[in-house]
């Protein structure tokens, strides 16, 4: 007993020391990507460390609520990265319900995200004046929270409306139909600037109202006056964090409920689930609605954060990016979706961009690269086309293929495991005729 307690105590100390050290590193080297990566890794360590739940909560809170905003105040870019990660974590958790829990491949997930984003974009900007007379728009910032709720509801409604006709389809057909749906939504958004200008077409909508700074009088009262420009990044960080926590909470409660068990029963064997009395269609619709409402809610927040939306943000590639996140982490696994979203976002925002910058630096150095036996190359001749940041699709594609071949259950598979993914040779590639 004594020894085990000592060990846990030492782990706690070690973890605290690691967090403190990496925070200091980020503080000292605000430009270093590796320092920030080490700092981000502390969350993963907290998740894995064999320590008490309360200790984990305290450490996570220290990292997410205290250290991250503090470091973000020093180097704003990190806050931007954290906000992006949060947005994708929420999206990945939403898709995880549909793909991971129920096993329905939804390739048009981004459509719901777009619906949420455009909902606030249209009414939170002067855009709505184009079709509602009276000049009431943009709506006051205070409406933001109402529209966040409204976006979540609208997402659920569109999820059900799409789901009703298509959920009878088999898995691969469903995938293509949802993809078609997303393309239709994008085409509508792209073209509905006439006959009535709803979406302003490819030019997008800007400026979009930001959420209200309802706490500013409070800050002023305690003598901490800050300009809105300084407040917004941290404010958005906390809004995204709150949304992610809410999404995690809802997902966990659903997973452990009869609904979650019904979903997994459908995933494992739909016919058996029907035989056991699971209302399959209703459960699938519910999953579609919940996933879609998460995406639409994130969309509202995204529009408010960016201040600008256009159809380019809602391409098929976004859907595949979110899918890659879910698959990387492990379908049906909440920590997996979080990990996947974090890895893919960091890969995109930090590693690929970092490599591109490095390549540019090499090109501009004007030095020669000498490879024995092969001769020397002028580094300034590296074509600009090679910037790794431009090869997102290749990265997503490789993630999907390699994960499917070598680790279909993902890096953090759900604890109960899913027979639908790990079963080998259990099902013939093609069921015999007449089955």
């Amino acid at each position: 007993m004594e020894g085990a307690e000592r060990k846990v105590f030492l782990i706690n100390i070690g973890l605290a020391a690691y967090i403190a050290l990496t925070s200091l590193l980020v503080y000292w080297f605000p430009r270093s990507v590796s320092a920030f990566l080490l700092f981000q890794a502390s969350l993963l360590m907290i998740y894995y460390a064999p320590i008490a739940r309360t200790a984990k909560l305290v450490f996570s809170a220290a990292v997410l609520i205290v250290l991250m905003p503090f470091l973000g105040a020093i180097e704003g870019y990190y806050l931007e990265v954290a906000i992006q990660i949060g947005i994708f974590v929420a999206l990945a958790l939403g898709l995880n319900i549909v793909v991971g829990f129920v096993g329905l491949l939804n390739l048009g997930f981004v459509a719901f995200y777009a619906i949420g984003a455009y909902l606030w974009a249209i009414f939170g900007s002067p855009q709505a004046n184009a079709f509602i007379a009276g000049g009431h728009f943009p709506l006051a910032a205070g409406w933001f929270f109402a529209f966040l709720a409204g976006g979540i509801a609208l997402g659920a409604i569109t999820g059900v409306l799409l789901g009703l006709p298509v959920l009878r389809l088999r898995g691969d057909y469903l995938a293509i139909v949802t993809l078609g749906f997303a393309e239709v939504v994008r085409a509508l958004v792209n073209n509905l600037d006439k006959p009535v200008n709803l979406t302003n077409g490819p030019r997008g909508i800007t400026p979009i109202q930001r959420p209200p700074l309802f706490f500013q009088p409070l800050l002023d009262a305690i003598g901490m006056h800050r300009e809105p420009a300084a407040l917004y990044p941290i404010y958005f960080y906390f809004l995204v964090l709150a949304l992610v926590l809410a999404v995690i909470f809802v997902t966990r409660r659903l997973e452990d409920s009869p609904i979650g068990r019904a979903w997994k029963a459908i995933r494992e064997d739909e016919i058996a689930a029907i035989a056991m009395g699971v209302p399959v269609v209703r459960m699938k619709l519910l999953a579609f609605a919940v996933g879609a409402s998460f995406a639409a809610g994130v969309g509202v927040l995204f529009a408010a954060k960016q201040g600008f939306v256009n159809p380019e943000s809602f391409t098929f590639m976004e859907s595949i990016g979110v899918l890659a996140m879910v698959i990387l982490g492990g379908m049906g696994s909440i920590p997996g979706a979080i990990l996947g979203a974090t890895i893919v976002t960091i890969l995109n925002l930090q590693l690929l961009k970092g490599l591109s910058l490095w390549l540019n630096a090499l090109r501009q150095s004007g030095e020669m690269l000498v490879i024995p036996f092969l001769g020397s190359f002028d580094l300034s001749q590296i074509p600009a086309q090679f910037e790794p940041a431009k090869y997102e699709r290749m990265v997503f594609g490789l993630i999907l293929i390699l994960m499917m071949i070598f680790r279909p259950q993902g890096f953090l598979p759900p604890s109960q495991g899913s027979a639908a993914l790990t079963r080998k040779g259990g099902q013939p590639a093609k069921p015999a005729a007449g089955k």
């Binding site: 057909y173 078609g180 085409a187 073209n191 006439k194 290749m394 594609g397 071949i405 099902q427």
Partner: protein, 321 residues
Amino acid sequence: MDFSSGIFFQVAVDGIVLGFMYALIALGYTMVYGVLEFINFAHSEIFILGAFVGAELLLGLEASGALATLHPAAVILMIVLAGMLASGLAAAALERIAYRPLRGAPRLVPLISAIGASFFLQDFIRFIESLWRNTFYLNYPTLDILDQNLTLGAAVEIPFKSVLVIFTALAMLAGLYLFVNKTKLGTAIRAVAQDPDAAALMGIPVDRIITLTFFVGGAMGGAAGVLFGLHYSLINPYSGFVPGLKAFTAAVLGGIGNIPGAVLGGLVLGLMEAFAASYLAVITNGAFGAEYKDVFAFAVLILILIFRPKGLLGETVREGA
């Protein structure tokens, strides 16, 4: 409404050209679906790969000066064959690398791998082209003969390239029909599509036949790619995606797994799209125009899958897990 015969005829020709293009691409989807019940999502990139190989060969011929000395028919034959070979080999290689290890896994697993392959190939083509030319937008060199018009009767002219597409596609379809129905290998493909287990018991090497199916379907896609490049001139690694999706729609429309169905579906979709692009603005009084032709195609897909999932000519789709 302007349904004057000249325009009507032109639109019909455009629709048929588009339709044959979709038909050739759709064959790749439908043949693979026939033997494996699997949507080869990366087929759209196999298709555009053919367009790139054809363009590179044509550009090479132009640079070496051989283009001026060769007969245009020989040039077109060469680039179509090169596109077919490259796409066929790529499709077969894709099957070996990304799909075969996943055979026997649940349905979603190979589909996700295929989506990954599609994305990977888009950027891979871009990478190679960037390495080679420092750009990834290619313009097909013009062949003089393709810019001429064939005059039929009074006010009707057909661009020669449309005639080329239609005749090449017809020749390919006839060849495929003979291959599938009259040769031993074609019989083997049909046998595997009908029942792989029984086919294996009859001594048919199922794995090799599946690879062959990918090769043949890929080659059809490659030919379509070259024709696409010759007809529309500008290609980039991402321009295969939307035609691929529409060709898949055509395959579903005709009844997936059904070869004549793919041709019928392609033609119907091509004609509908061409007429929608030309007449949607007229019918809706200018409210909706040609920009909705993609929406139109996807709406067709969704409606067919909902109301007649077996397609126009399809057999009943078997219920799988």
